[in-house]
C-alpha cells in the first residue's frame, strides 16, 4: 500500500475513534481502558512476522519476546474486561 492510502485510513480512523469513544458511557471508562489495552496488542502481528522470518537470529528472538509480552496483554486485557463487564447488573 502506498503511504497516502495508509495515511488516509489512519486519519479517518482517528475521526471514527473520536466519535466512538465519546459515545462510551463514563461508567465503562475503566473497561474501555482495559479493552483498548488488549486491542493495542494487535502489535503482535509485527512480533509474529519478526519471529517467523528467517534471516536474523536476534530479530527472531526479539520477536518471540514481543509475542509473549503482547500475549500477556491480549489474554489478560480481554479476560479482565470480561470480568469487569460481568459485574455490571441492572436493578432487580
Amino acid at each position: 500500500m502506498d503511504f497516502i492510502s495508509i495515511l488516509s485510513i489512519f486519519v479517518l480512523a482517528c475521526f471514527v475513534g473520536y466519535y466512538v469513544v465519546w459515545s462510551v458511557t463514563p461508567a465503562l471508562h475503566t473497561p474501555l481502558m482495559a479493552v483498548t489495552n488488549a486491542i493495542s496488542s494487535v502489535i503482535i502481528v509485527g512480533a509474529l512476522i519478526a519471529s517467523a522470518a528467517a534471516g536474523s537470529e536476534t530479530a527472531k528472538w526479539l520477536g518471540l519476546v514481543a509475542v509473549a509480552l503482547a500475549s500477556v496483554n491480549i489474554f489478560g486485557g480481554f479476560a479482565v474486561t470480561e470480568r469487569m463487564l460481568a459485574m455490571y447488573k441492572k436493578k432487580g
Binding site: A13, G17, G76
Partner: protein
C-alpha cells in the same frame, strides 16, 4: 513507496475486518447491556489478525511462537483472574508498559531484519538492503513512542502500586533537560532518515534517549494526577501501535492505533476537565503529591461543628424520601463498598430512594468507582454521573458522603484563592441534611483545603472508620 511485496487482497481484507471488529468492540461500550458482546467482537478481531498473519507468512519457528503465546497468555490470564478491582490502575499501567516494550522489540527486529518486514530497498537497487526513508521515520517514531510508553508506564505502575512514593520528584532545570532530550530524539530520527548510511549508533541513541525521557516525564507528576497519566500513556501505546502499523502497511494496526490513541487522549481531557487542570500543567508536574499541599491550610477545627452517631444517621435516612450517596476513594481504601450496598438495600426496604453520585475523579482512574460499586453489586442504573445528578441535591433529604472531600467542597465554586477553584463539584450543601463520614476532623483531602460543608448547620459529622461506621448504621437500620 511501500513497494516491497504485492499485497494479497484477501489478506488486506482480513486485516480490515479485524480493524472493524475493534471499532465495534468500543462501540459496544456505549451501554453496559451491549458491552459484553462488544468485548467478544474485540476477541474475534484479534483472532482474525493473528491467524491471518500466521497463515500468510512462512513459519520458520512455529513451536517457539506457540510457546511464547502460551507463556504470555497464561500469565496474563492468571493475573486477570486474580487482580483486585482496587488494583485496576496498576494493572492497566503495567499492561501499557508491555505494549510499549513489545512495540520497541518489534521496531528493533524490523531494524535488524528489514527484508522480513518488506521495508528495505529491493535487490539490485543502489541501496539494496538498506531501509526505505519513509520506513525510517515510521520506525524511529514507533520505537521512540514505544520506549516512552514503556518507561513512563513502569514509573506510573511503581507509583500506583506503592513501590515508589507518590510525591513528585523535581529535578532542577527539568524543563530544559526534557525539551533538549526531545529535540535530540527528533533530530536523530531526521538524521537517520536523510542519511541512508547513518551509523547504527544513531538508532540505538534514539532508543536510549526515549527510555530516558519517558522516565523523566513521569517522575515529577504527583499521585493525584495519576488518572491523567494513565490515560495519557494509554494514548501513547495506541500511537506506538499505529506507527508500527505504518511500517508494516497493516490496516488492523493502524485502525487500532488510531482508536486507542484517541481513546486515551479523550480520557485525559475528561480527567483534566474534572480536576480543572490544564493538560500542560499536569505534564509540567509537581501537583498532587501524597504529602504535598498540607501546609496550604490545615482544617480550622476551632469552628463549631456537629457530631452525630450511627443511630442518628440511621434515623435520619429512614425518614428520608431520597438519599444520595457520594463515594470517594477513601471508601475503597476502607473496603466499605459491600457494606455500603447493604445499607442501600436496607434503606430501599424502608421505601427510601437511593442513588449514587460519582465524580469523574472519584477513583484512581477514569470510571474506577463505577467498577468498584458494580463489584459490590450496586445496580448500574442507580449510579449517576456528576452532571446528571447535581441538580437533584436541592430536592434531596440526605446527602451521604463517604471517603470523598474535595469533590464536595463549595470552595471550588466560591473561593478564587483555593487550589481547587474551578473544579466541578457536587452541590451537597443544598441537600436538607448532609451526613459526612470522616476519620477525624484533622485531615483534609488531597488538595489540603478546609471544607465549609463540615461546619454547616445541616451537616452532621460521623467521625469513624468508614467501614465500621456504615456497619453500625446497617445494624441500627434493623
Amino acid at each position: 513507496m511501500h513497494e516491497a511485496a504485492p499485497v494479497n487482497p484477501w489478506v488486506a481484507l482480513a486485516y480490515l475486518i479485524a480493524g472493524v471488529c475493534f471499532i465495534v468492540a468500543l462501540r459496544g461500550l456505549s451501554s453496559p447491556a451491549t458491552s459484553r458482546r462488544g468485548n467478544r467482537f474485540g476477541m474475534a478481531g484479534m483472532l482474525i489478525a493473528v491467524v491471518t498473519t500466521l497463515v500468510t507468512h512462512e513459519l520458520a519457528s512455529l513451536p517457539e511462537i506457540v510457546g511464547a503465546i502460551a507463556i504470555g497468555g497464561g500469565f496474563g490470564w492468571i493475573v486477570a483472574r486474580k487482580i483486585k478491582m482496587t488494583d485496576m490502575p496498576q494493572l492497566v499501567a503495567g499492561f501499557h508498559s508491555l505494549v510499549g516494550l513489545a512495540a520497541v522489540l518489534v521496531g528493533v527486529a524490523a531494524y535488524l531484519n528489514p527484508q522480513a518486514f518488506g521495508i528495505a530497498f529491493p535487490a539490485g537497487s543502489e541501496y539494496a538492503g538498506l531501509i526505505l526513508p519513509v520506513s525510517r521515520i515510521e520506525l524511529g517514531l514507533g520505537v521512540a513512542i514505544g520506549a516512552i510508553t514503556f518507561s513512563g508506564s513502569v514509573i506510573a505502575f511503581l507509583k500506583l502500586n506503592g513501590n515508589m512514593g507518590g510525591a513528585p520528584i523535581m529535578l532542577p532545570g527539568r524543563h530544559v533537560i526534557n525539551l533538549g532530550t526531545l529535540a535530540a530524539i527528533l533530530g536523530l530520527i531526521a538524521f537517520l532518515t536523510i542519511e541512508l548510511s547513518a551509523p547504527e549508533w544513531v538508532f540505538w541513541t534514539v532508543l536510549v534517549l526515549s527510555f530516558v525521557i519517558g522516565f523523566l516525564l513521569i517522575i515529577p507528576i504527583g499521585g493525584a494526577d495519576m488518572p491523567v497519566v494513565v490515560s495519557m500513556l494509554n494514548s501513547y501505546s495506541g500511537w506506538a501501535a499505529a506507527a508500527m502499523g505504518f511500517t508494516l502497511g497493516n490496516t488492523a494496526m493502524i485502525i487500532t492505533g488510531a482508536l486507542v490513541g484517541s481513546s486515551g487522549a479523550i480520557l485525559s481531557y475528561i480527567m483534566c476537565k474534572a480536576m480543572n487542570r490544564s493538560f500542560i500543567s499536569v505534564i509540567a508536574g509537581g501537583f498532587g503529591g501524597d504529602s504535598g499541599g498540607g501546609a496550604a491550610g490545615a482544617a480550622k477545627t476551632d469552628r463549631p461543628w456537629k457530631r452525630g452517631s450511627a443511630e442518628d444517621a440511621a434515623f435520619l435516612m429512614q425518614q428520608a424520601e431520597q438519599v444520595i450517596i457520594v463515594p470517594g476513594y477513601g471508601m475503597a481504601v476502607a473496603q466499605a463498598q459491600h457494606v455500603l450496598r447493604e445499607m442501600g438495600d436496607k434503606l430501599k426496604e424502608h421505601g427510601v430512594r437511593v442513588k449514587y453520585a460519582i465524580h469523574p475523579v472519584a477513583g484512581r482512574m477514569p470510571g474506577h468507582m463505577n467498577v468498584l460499586l458494580a463489584e459490590a453489586n450496586v445496580p448500574y442504573d442507580e449510579v449517576f454521573e456528576l452532571e446528571d445528578i447535581n441538580s437533584e441535591f436541592a430536592q434531596t433529604d440526605v446527602a451521604f458522603i463517604i471517603g470523598a472531600n474535595d469533590v464536595v467542597n463549595p470552595a471550588a465554586k466560591t473561593d478564587k484563592s483555593s487550589p481547587i477553584y474551578g473544579m466541578p463539584v457536587f452541590d451537597v450543601n443544598k441537600a436538607k441534611t448532609v451526613l459526612f463520614i470522616k476519620r477525624s476532623m484533622g485531615g483534609v483531602g488531597y488538595a489540603g483545603v478546609d471544607n465549609d460543608v463540615f461546619y454547616q448547620d445541616n451537616t452532621m459529622m460521623l467521625l469513624a472508620d468508614a467501614k465500621k461506621m456504615v456497619e453500625e448504621i446497617v445494624k441500627s437500620l434493623d
